[in-house]
Amino acid sequence: MSATISKKAVGVETIGMTMRFGAFTALDDVSVKVSTGSFHALLGENGAGKSTLVKCMMGFYHPTSGDILVDGREVTIASPRDASALGLGMVYQHFTLVPSLTGAENLVISREKVPGVIDWRKERAALAQFMERMPFKLPLDVKVAELAAGEKQKLEIVKQLYLGRSFLVLDEPTSVLTPGEAQEVLGLVRAMTRAGDLTVLMISHKFHEVTAFADDVSVLRKGRLTGTGCVTDLDHRQMATMMIGDQPIAALDSRAEPKPDAEIVLKVKALKAPDRTGLKSIRIEDLDVRSGEIVGIAGISGNGQKEFLEVLAGQRPRDAGEVTVRGTAYAATRAEARALNVRLIPEEPMKNACAPKMTVAENISFRTFDIDGNGKPVSWISASAIRSFSARLVEQFKVKTASLSSPIASLSGGNVQRAVLARELTGEVDLLIVSNPCFGLDFSAVAEIRARIMKARNAGAAVLLMSEDLDELLELSDRIVVMSDGALVYETPIAQASVQTIGEHMAGHH
């Protein structure tokens, strides 16, 4: 069995790679050289073509033109199987583990040679031995669907190492990991590149990771290679310029003075709801969000934030308690959301806020397609109104899409997020509920989205912001509330907030 992680690293080079989707050119003559045993970072704004480039390397897409060299030899990679035979492997941006299989089953079945009848006793022993070499523990006997996002991501990476890859592509591997976990995982692959066992190509939006771990960096912009070089020769500003050119970066509006007597918009009282396992429940005793303030909810993922958001979104039934918006009971129906101007930006927008196979234009118009300019229901839905409305929003929020009538599922990760933001932040907003809004976005998009949230706040919206990124909360919030084990355990105004204390409450040490 081939569960060894000591194999020789290989280098990969693309020459003149071009990829067109219909009339849209996602990659234009891109030549990137990832040398043997190096840790190479690939940067670029959302929709720049990073995922497309690596998917071409993996045989997932077939480039319109261009060649691939592996260890200097020209090869044809027609399918992921060919790539895998050459020792090339990839951790995709969206999970590719099979949810209903256990971790162990996922690992074994993805091996190139699987015996017809699997001897689980032997496999388990081999897996246990392999896992001992990993710096973290993973439960391999539960279904992948039951793992937390961070665990899934680690399992994806472990899977590639288990397969004994010589060249590994990581597409935004750390976006669902805590900083500590990211350190562990990247440290592990970094050590393997140092030992000459592995070559790594990592796509990332986080400059600090690039500087800390990578040797070389290449930058894509609108499908073209705009720069490449040694990490030590480049600072963050130079990388940023290669990514976006000389565009200005959106600056955060200065914070309008909060009014302590502002109207309470969202009020949650004695809320009780089952959590995702159905065994425990979340309890929100008392939470108010006033007009013109951002209340940030901090917490380690899996402490009930997701369930709380689902209750507010109407996706999860509640056992008890009340949610009121402006004094009116709120059950998240479409009519109520419209009457009270409640807007929602959930996490995993493709799953929670989009109809993947419907077009970009339709998805952007979900809130408004059935009303006219005065909020009256229309009797006839106008396709041209939908088009012009969404064209305006796509322009305004810089959503990169091949066309308005492409299915939203074909958009890059960051652009799906932008499309949802465009829909939710347009029009009058009294209450904005946001969860991890900057997940997977490039730095300029992050700046822009934070600026938009701040703008909504200054315009008088009450904002409830849930985020796993403490820096984001510290930057935006007026008050921070910590959620731990299904309850709100600590509250502090931003002026007195200390990362130390918040961290302790997040970890449940109080």
């Binding site: 992921p80 590719t96 209903s100 299989l101 079945i109 699987v114």
Partner: protein, 308 residues
């Protein structure tokens, strides 16, 4: 001895016998459908496959004198229907449910067309093993006269249950059924796997049909199937895609179906026909009792169009 002598004991005995006799086609069709659905596709055409299998088994058995050749012919016909379904479904924008309904009607129609000359002649039966030979009570003997196909079906259910976890083919099937993307990333071709799974599913449904015409009821008529093929599809969902569950559900369904005739045989003359609806009522009740508004169906393959 007659029914009155063993009195009311006749009812559970008849139910047991009925369960064994009636359930066999359900077992085969639902196991076939379980394989197909585990691969992420639904084949509603199995009703047509069942009827066509019944016809071809009967016809071949009449012509060759061998029920086993008839069985093979049915399996082969089922395989062809399954592969045809699988082949059409690989084209983009084709809906597997619609194709299934079309094939259901097509299979039955074709069977009636080719089957006309075989309504009169009689074919040899598939053999049964008299497990009840130790007793001299005819009811016991009748109930325990077990056809070999039932035993094969039971063994097959156990085998599939094991194979879904412990063989490469089983795991590949589950991978494809749960996530096409993951399968492609692994270098598997989901369409090929589904084609094979639909083919095998069709072959099993054909065997279920052979049982109908070659053992119980044991002749070829146009009304030979009373929707077993369709009910079996429901049984798979009811059994949560678990082969052992399919087997149990088929038995339960067969037993419930035998309730009406059994009551009639012990002399209940009124209202027994209500019990003919027992299997359907039972299915409904269990479906409602085991479903939940807040959970999606546990164990449902992720790529299945009805649960997506």
């Amino acid at each position: 001895m007659d029914a009155t002598e063993i009195g009311l004991w006749g009812v559970p005995l008849a139910i047991l016998g009925g369960a064994i006799r009636v359930s066999t086609p359900f077992i085969f069709v639902s196991l076939g459908e379980a394989i197909t659905e585990r691969s992420g596709r639904i084949n509603l055409g199995l009703e047509g496959t069942l009827v066509f299998g019944a016809m071809s088994a009967y016809a071949v058995a009449v012509m060759t004198g061998s029920p086993w050749l008839g069985l093979l012919a049915a399996a082969f016909a089922g395989l062809c229907f399954g592969l045809f379904h699988g082949w059409i479904c690989k084209f983009p924008k084709v809906n597997d449910i619609a194709i299934g309904i079309a094939l259901m009607l097509f299979g039955s129609g074709l069977a009636f067309f080719f089957g006309k000359p075989f309504i009169q002649p009689s074919a040899p039966d598939l053999p049964a093993i008299p497990f009840g030979a130790w007793s001299d009570i005819p009811q016991v003997q009748a109930a325990l006269d077990v056809n070999v196909l039932f035993l094969i079906g039971a063994a097959l259910a156990a085998f599939l249950w094991w194979a879904f976890r412990n063989t490469r083919a089983g795991l590949i099937l589950r991978v494809v059924g749960d996530s096409s993307d993951a399968a492609r990333a692994m270098g598997l071709n989901p369409n090929t796997v589904r084609l094979a799974a639909t083919g095998v599913g069709g072959a099993l449904a054909g065997i279920g049909g052979a049982y109908l015409s070659l053992y119980y009821p044991g002749s070829w008529t146009e009304g030979i199937s009373s929707g077993q093929g369709l009910m079996a599809v429901a049984l798979v969902i009811f059994a949560r895609w678990n082969p052992l569950g399919c087997f149990a559900a088929a038995l339960l369904f067969g037993g419930a179906g035998a309730l009406g005739p059994a009551l009639q045989s012990v002399g209940v003359t009124q209202g027994y026909y209500l019990f003919y609806a027992a299997p359907y009522i039972l299915t409904l009740v269990i479906m409602i009792a085991t479903s939940s508004p807040s959970r999606s169906l546990a164990g449902a393959p992720g790529e299945l169009s009805i649960t997506k």
